[in-house]
């Protein structure tokens, strides 16, 4: 399986041997997608659920994937939607308002077995959690995943200009929040 790194190669394999191709997809993308999901949903258990659902959805909808688009952005879009679905479900179950979800997730952060950050990292994560949902996604994709605005635009169906403005605004907000500590 090593040496098959380009999406174009993977797509070709999917077309000829779907099972083998999908195994390669899982191996290549599970870690990346996990960390993207985890930064949004915070808890490991929730990220685990969303990751599985992401690949199950991808498997079921492989027939609808257009080979001219990028496998990478397609998978990230599914993962983002699964994360948001999970967050919305948590909001409903906990009867949390839209404005409180950041504080609610911050509470999950502090109590989590699988969070081992120092004071600075905790402050940064708490600051990120204060951002509006979409802005948080933009910030995470740019700052941690170093994704291009072009790819982000395909995932979030938002113009590159709006994404740049959103990221710039997110950075300013986080710097301000960190400065207040």
């Amino acid at each position: 399986m090593s040496g098959i790194s380009q999406d174009t190669d993977i797509i070709r394999i999917l077309q000829s041997d779907i099972n083998r191709g999908f195994r390669i997809v899982v191996e290549k993308y599970s870690s990346k997608l996990y960390w993207h999901i985890r930064r949004l949903v915070i808890l490991h258990e929730d990220a685990d659920d969303a990751l599985q659902n992401t690949f199950i959805n991808a498997w079921k909808n492989l027939g609808e994937f257009r080979s001219e688009s990028s496998l990478y952005t397609w998978l990230y879009a599914i993962a983002t939607n699964e994360s948001l679905t999970l967050i919305n479900k948590r909001k409903r179950n906990a009867a949390v308002s839209l404005d409180d979800i950041g504080s609610y997730l911050a509470g999950s952060l502090e109590g989590s077995t699988w969070f081992d950050g120092d004071e600075a990292q905790t402050r940064l994560q708490n600051a990120i959690l204060q951002l509006p949902e979409k802005q948080r996604i933009v910030f995470n994709l740019k700052y941690f995943d170093e994704m291009t605005y072009e790819d982000m635009s395909k995932i979030l169906k938002t113009s590159e200009g709006a994404l740049k403005a959103s990221y710039h605004h997110a950075v300013k907000k986080i710097e301000k929040l960190l400065g207040e500590y």
């Binding site: 990751l51 027939g63 120092d118 600075a120 709006a162 403005a165």
Partner: protein, 140 residues
């Protein structure tokens, strides 16, 4: 105080040992390992097209028939005679209630009680709605 960049490369989130190997196996079992992918057999494309055309024609015929009934003076009078006086009176009263409400509503009180949105909240809203801030700055 550490800057954002100093904390960026350190991942504070942890996973159980061998997690990715284990989750990959679970995913494969739930997908590839679950058997051949059964694609839903829907109706064929040409049949869908035929049904769409048939539905459009049916809607057009219904609308034409209804329009004919409404516009035909003899038919209109016949319909009015089928509506009871009580039903007509109730429908007029509903209209009057709406107008009375509008006359009595204190619009200024509504505006006074409107909360003022914070500048930050407005900017967040605009960004989330995909509105280009530069265009707004130019207008201002």
């Amino acid at each position: 105080m550490k800057t954002m960049d100093e904390t960026k490369d350190k991942n504070p989130f942890k996973v159980p040992e061998n997690y990715f190997e284990e989750v990959n196996n679970r995913i494969i079992s739930a997908t590839v390992g679950a058997g051949p992918l059964i694609r839903k057999k829907g109706i064929s494309r040409s049949l869908k097209l035929t049904l769409a055309v048939a539905a459009s024609v049916a809607v057009f015929v219904m609308l034409s028939y209804t329009a004919f009934r409404l516009l035909n003076p003899d038919n209109r009078n016949r319909w009015l005679s089928e509506i009871s006086t009580e039903e007509l009176v109730v429908s007029y009263l509903d209209d009057i209630d709406i107008l009375t409400l509008e006359e009595n509503s204190d619009l200024s009180a509504m505006y006074d009680s409107e909360p003022v949105a914070a500048r930050e909240d407005i900017i967040d809203y605009l960004l989330n709605e995909n509105i280009e801030l530069n265009e707004i700055y130019e207008l201002l």
